[in-house]
Amino acid sequence: MQDETPKPYTEGPMHSTSPVIDPGLTFASVTDKISSIVLKRKTSLAWFFGFAISFALFQLMLLAMTNLLFVGIGLWGVNVPVAWGIDILNFVWWIGIGHAGTLISAILLLLRQRWRTSINRFAEAMTLFAVAQAGMYPIFHLGRPWLMYWLFPYPNTMGIWPQFRSPLMWDVFAVSTYATVSAMFWFVGLIPDFATLRDRARSKPFQILYGMLAMGWRGSARHWHRYEMAYLLLAGLATPLVLSVHTIVSFDFAVGIIPGWHATIFPPYFVAGAIYAGFAMVLLLTIPLRRFYGLEGFITMRHMHNMGKVMLATGLIVGYGYIMEAFFGWYSGNKYERFMIWNRMHGPYSLYYWALILCNIITPQFLWFKKLRSNLLALWIISFVVSIGMWLERFVIVVTSLHRDFLPSSWGMYQPTQWDWAMFIGTIGFFFTLLFLFIRFLPMISIFEMRTILPEAEVEE
């Protein structure tokens, strides 16, 4: 905000802060620098350390799941009236985190935001891994997870079919489509880079591995033409898809008649919240990563600023959502709605509500200041607080709405057990395990897309 020395504008106000890419880079240096992280650089001790911790936590998840399969859902703290505890909450939280990846890779592509190029690969990987975590929760919540295939419409000897009027069925289709399309989008983006790695790899096993994944990609102009078309069409398909996924997740709640769930504002408010949480997670991960791998030339301060701004904008939409929830509660004149909002603010879980306001509405206001957006430590801390805030938001929506419904005789309290926490911490471990493997074995920045934004990529005629 308060910039003492006005900097000269180069290409207009958008370009005043810092470039999208270090101007000294060339085709060769971009290729070598990104591919060397995978192929040449010695795996650092820090990587092994981080991987070991993540992998250990991943084992905790497996333990929690195995125990759940033996004992059953009673292991978790859920019980009527709070039949959806932090496990559904974590499902929503993880899938929300995934949304930023699709936003960066698809929506920003359609909007021709060139700065997306250096973060889209990483963000898409994050999406995929977050959706993998999310998908496990509803399945293990089924009670008999081994019968999860009953959710899909297949002709069976029982002669029954799923109920398509239920939002829970919509959820099955939305999440599985989202996971499939995200995986395809990610893989298609990787094909030319696999070819780059195939041609750079020194050892036979890696040449074969990347060679198979590259499928014989040779950079033919005809191939590129169809490739670009496919990529654009996938972006066009992924854009409404990502909006539909969190809309449908919000229907899981909004179609129910519980006060605090039954609100028309849920779809846009959930989507904005998802993008908010997702960008927080992207920042949380890229800030240490770019430092550690020396990627400041690719992921510049411009990216940090822009992501900070997106977080601020979506944070304000989320704040508007909270205010509207309170307003609806009052304006509806419905005593259950009024009680719901009063209970959120003053009931037994009021601490969660006020912590949520602090994390999600107050904290992002710091992003108005350019000084703070330029300070990586501040940005990291804000992102961390927002991630917690979005977790609290889902806690408030899921738990406080359920624990006080229409009849005081059916009121109750909810306490997550150690197994709920083990599952949650375990999925964080699994997420980071996948992420560590990704940054070790795949190019975390799209090499071929970075080439397109270099100055020497311009064709002079």
Binding site: A28, R165, T177, T196, G216, A221, R222, L237, I248, E456
Partner: protein, 195 residues
Amino acid sequence: METENTQIHVTPGGSHRRHAPPLYGVIAEFENPSDLVAAARRVYSLGYRRINGYSPYPIEELSEAIGFTHTSLPLIVFIGGLVGGIGGFLMQYWIEVIDYPINVGGKPYNSWPAFIPITFEMTVLVAAFSAVLGMLVLNKLPQPYHPVFNVPNFAMATRDRFFLAVEANDAKFDHTEVVELLKSLNALEVNDVEV
């Protein structure tokens, strides 16, 4: 539709080749995209049609220069989306109305608004599969072997080098003429490509 060159010369006898191996074409190497596009335009203007460029990243001007501007991929994806959408809706209609009708809160069996989310998801799913598989099939990928991989330095096509191939099955193809032409176009190197 769009065809990739797959001309096959059969080596008679097989075991010992006495003659020079059959030719896939001639390929020129360039240092930058501008030279490649300029060369491609020139070669195309001279009437060569079975030509192809190779570059480390997509160059819009290049596919234009070699006269490759049309792809039926959007049509394939549109049909895929249509099949997904109609199929998705009909699946739900058949299940909920015909095969397994259940009265839910007195709603009509064909409660179509409730079928929209899954119809939409199926549209996107089938369209996305069509886009990815359509792209791979039209590109004839996976294709483990291709003659251009024999070109020395072709590994640089995925780094910072640019290539232009004139294929031997072009109607106008004459080996010496093509080599001379490519050499005159600012190429770093001109090589024969064996099949």
